[in-house]
């Protein structure tokens, strides 16, 4: 059987401290769970079960409720993302201009599917909903950088340029 790649939780004390402060801010706010999850993901980069447990205890709600909300919304992720998060827009405007082909090219290039992360932790691919840059369709994003009017060949070149950069995120 193929061995499954498991991420171990490596939260730091500083992160835990930040999370506790965050929980304290939102504890009494009606509907505070969503903002807490959003900002907790900002602290840790993802929402592992350890973090969800701390949130459930902190807010005084059940873990299943936290888990239910965390898995309902596509913005929340229970697994870490790559250093370079590639998002391929599959909004209608991009789709009719061939973004499915772009996604396929990138998946083939990196050997992973949308929603996955490369074993070295360098890249993750997500297909996203409209990013709103329809004038530039088809659009891909690598972290916050937007690339417009992308062709399959350019998509490959863009990935290459990040492979060359390695893990440096300057």
């Amino acid at each position: 059987m193929e061995e499954k790649f498991v991420h171990t939780f490596k939260g730091t004390l500083t992160q835990e401290h930040q999370l506790k402060e965050l929980i304290e801010t939102y504890r009494t706010l009606p509907g505070g769970l969503m903002p807490v999850l959003q900002q907790a993901q900002g602290i840790y980069g993802y929402l592992p079960i350890e973090v969800q447990t701390m949130i459930a205890e902190g807010l005084g709600i059940s873990l299943s409720e936290v888990y239910g909300v965390a898995t309902f919304y596509s913005q929340f992720t229970l697994v870490p993302k790559g250093i370079y998060r590639i998002s391929v827009c599959l909004g209608t405007a991009c789709y009719v201009k061939g973004s499915a082909k772009i996604l396929e090219t990138i998946e083939t290039k990196l050997g992973i599917k949308s929603g996955e992360c490369t074993p070295d932790g360098l890249f993750s691919i997500d297909s996203t909903r409209c990013v709103g840059a329809c004038g530039l369709a088809p659009v891909i994003m690598v972290n916050e950088e937007v690339y417009g009017k992308v062709t399959p060949a350019q998509a490959e070149a863009i990935i290459e340029s990040y492979i060359e950069k390695g893990g440096r995120t300057e």
Binding site: G31, G91, T92, A93, V96, C130, V131, C134, G135, V139
Partner: protein, 631 residues
């Protein structure tokens, strides 16, 4: 803030902003009265930011400093001008010179040659439609793109700085709220909004005044006003553009709604995917509070109201009103059965009014100019204007606002500049995953809520995607079904299972396994989903399929009976071949083919092995002689 203070700010800033609205000669006259000789407006919305407007702003700031022009040239970062395809966009007033696709180098040149003392417009860098054949510049409002537009909801987008409340006040901002609080009763407000004929711009088209009246009539110690900015329809960006370009107009309208129904608190539920809009909205909130335009005892009256921002987290269903409220409450964003309607039992169980961003954007002009003026625009049943995000296979991709009743032909051929590459128009998709297609034969239909419904589509929130002959209609409905399958919240069975079954039929058809009776089965299933789904997501999920079957049945039949895709999109139904008369035997394709499916020696004709071919299209894209084709 008092009314006098509001009037003072308005008087101080009015001339400066007026320069941007006037025709050239008058603008020059007005500019002379202000402390700035020139004003440079550059779009800082998502579209232009994505095409690099930040770098242009940096270059401008630097160049202006170097040339010591900062005191005479005002740089304003605005919201969307509309012509996103030509971004980054920069306009220089008082001339109204419209620079398109401007680069940092171009911007530096404009500083040196145009903005400097005695300089003149750099014609080569202008949007060429604004340059007459004799070399003179025509005003932007005379260009094809803007000529037929009418800006009500977008009135301030691309005109004011969204991060400066004083500029909003200069264009009559918060005057409507002042008028309402000091001279109108809540019932007067509701009467005015009802008389205007304004209907919900989020898609459903429910009369706004009626909604407010219901909430006003509901008893409750606490009431809420919410703004739906969870614009999830793929390819739509109207609401985002309004929030990026004119956030205060939404806050002001929410306060008016709150006064009308007797609410104390408001929420804006906005997509987290819109960072610029969120940021500008947050700035606007802070400024409005600092000016006392939100908070306790606004304008010294007994009316108190404040607003909070809540971020969505990527769930399309949260655009549905009850799901949105469940999400604000901090739960999984699942819809609730109606009745009870939100006006009776909404957010946290209290009476709530929920309107879309664009609906709110229409409220202040109605209060200031009157319902008579507003209802004079549009058609018999649909008043006012509608903003569309026009995208897909069209030249002028961007944001347009037209009076209701404008025809699709006017939008596509005149405002949109037609279909690029000489392709033929096939259909327009409106309403996104809940809407349908308007085929070429109905291109002269005047657009309003009812005409679109009659065609089997819907107004939706305003996404308008243009499709040309290269678009496969079966594939596009499969695309929408994939979307609704992923976004169905799973609470009710007709939607959860129904969307999946519909998608399976479409996958069967596009992979060449379709059977003639599939179409009937789809139609029957769609009927059940419409009648029994809990919310609009499931009730309307079948619309893209139904409307394409209605207008493009022949394409479905071709997929099912001939096992062919007329637009050559569905991979399983096309084969790649090499035209013997065009192939020169250059071996390029054989070398590129990732699976070694192409055989042939140099200078000999090449052949594709169909068994091995994975239809990636690499050979076709790279052939220098156009010898590879599909059939």
């Amino acid at each position: 803030m008092t009314l006098e203070e509001l009037a003072k700010i308005r008087a101080e800033k009015a001339d400066l902003v007026a320069v941007r609205r006037l025709v050239k000669e008058k603008a020059e006259e007005m500019a002379a009265k202000t402390s700035y000789r020139k004003q440079v407006l550059i779009c800082g919305g998502t579209g232009c930011t994505s095409s690099g407007s930040k770098h242009v702003v940096d270059a401008l700031e630097e160049a202006l400093k170097e040339s010591k022009l900062e005191k005479e040239v005002l740089l304003v970062k605005t919201g969307c001008f509309g012509l996103c395809a030509l971004g980054p966009i920069m306009i220089v007033y008082p001339e109204g010179a419209f620079y398109s696709q401007i680069t940092p180098e171009g911007a530096r040149r404009v500083v040196k040659e145009h903005l400097a003392q005695g300089g003149s417009v750099v014609k080569e860098l202008l949007y060429q439609e604004t340059v007459h054949t004799d070399g003179s510049i025509i005003s932007l409002s005379e260009t094809q793109f803007y000529k037929k537009q009418m800006r009500v909801a977008l009135r301030n987008c691309g005109v004011i700085s969204p991060e400066d409340i004083d500029e909003y006040i200069a264009v009559d901002g918060y005057q409507a709220l002042a008028k309402v609080l000091t001279s109108m009763t809540p019932d007067d407000v509701i009467r005015e909004v009802t008389a205007s004929g304004l209907r919900g711009r989020g898609g459903g088209g429910f009369p706004t005044g009626k909604k407010w009246a219901f909430a006003r009539a509901s008893e409750g110690d606490m009431k809420y006003v919410c703004c739906n900015a969870d614009e999830g329809d793929p390819g739509a960006f109207m609401d985002r553009s309004i929030l990026e370009g004119d956030p205060h107009c939404v806050l002001e309208a929410m306060a008016i709604a709150a006064y009308a129904i007797g609410a104390q608190r408001g929420y804006v539920y906005i997509r987290a995917e819109y960072p610029i809009a969120v940021q500008r909205l947050a700035i606007a909130l802070t400024q409005a509070r600092a000016h006392g335009l939100l908070g306790n005892n606004i304008f010294g009256t007994t009316f108190s109201f404040d607003i909070e921002i809540r971020l969505g987290a990527g769930a399309f269903v949260c655009g549905e009103e009850t799901a949105l409220m469940t999400s604000i409450e901090g739960h999984r964003g699942e819809p609730r059965p109606r009745p009870p309607f939100p006006a009776v039992k909404g957010l946290f169980g209290k009476p709530t009014v929920l309107n879309n961003v664009e609906t709110y954007a229409n409220v202040c002009p109605i209060i200031l100019k009157g319902s008579k003026w507003y209802s004079s625009i549009g058609t018999a049943t649909s008043k006012g204007t509608k903003v569309f995000a026009v995208g897909g296979k069209i030249t002028n991709i961007g944001l347009v606002e037209i009076p209701m009743g404008t025809t699709l032909r006017e939008i596509i051929e005149e405002i949109g500049g037609g279909i690029p590459d000489g392709k033929k128009f096939k259909a327009a998709q409106t309403g996104g995953p809940s809407g349908g297609c308007i085929p070429a034969c109905h291109i002269d239909t005047p657009i309003d809520y009812d005409s679109l419904l009659a065609l089997g589509s819907m107004m939706g929130s305003g996404g308008l995607i243009v499709l040309d002959e290269d678009t496969c209609m079966v594939d596009i409905s499969k695309f929408y079904l994939e979307f609704t399958v992923a976004e169905s919240c799973g609470k009710c069975t007709p939607c959860r299972i129904g969307t999946r079954r519909l998608l399976q039929y479409l996958e069967k058809i596009t992979s060449g396994h379709g059977e003639p009776e599939d179409l009937e089965k789809i139609e029957e299933l769609a009927l059940h989903m419409k009648s029994s789904s809990l919310c609009a997501l499931g009730q309307t999920a079948s619309n893209p399929v139904l409307s394409t079957i209605k207008y493009f049945r022949d394409e479905y039949v071709a997929h099912i009976e001939d096992k062919s895709c007329p637009s050559k999109v569905c991979k399983d139904l096309i084969v790649y071949e090499i035209d013997p008369s065009k192939c020169r035997g250059c071996t390029k394709c054989a070398r590129l083919c990732p699976v070694g499916a192409i055989a042939g020696s140099p200078k000999q004709m090449h052949v594709i092995d169909r068994e091995k071919c994975i239809k990636c299209g690499l050979c076709m894209r790279n052939c220098n002689f156009d010898a590879v084709y599909t059939r």
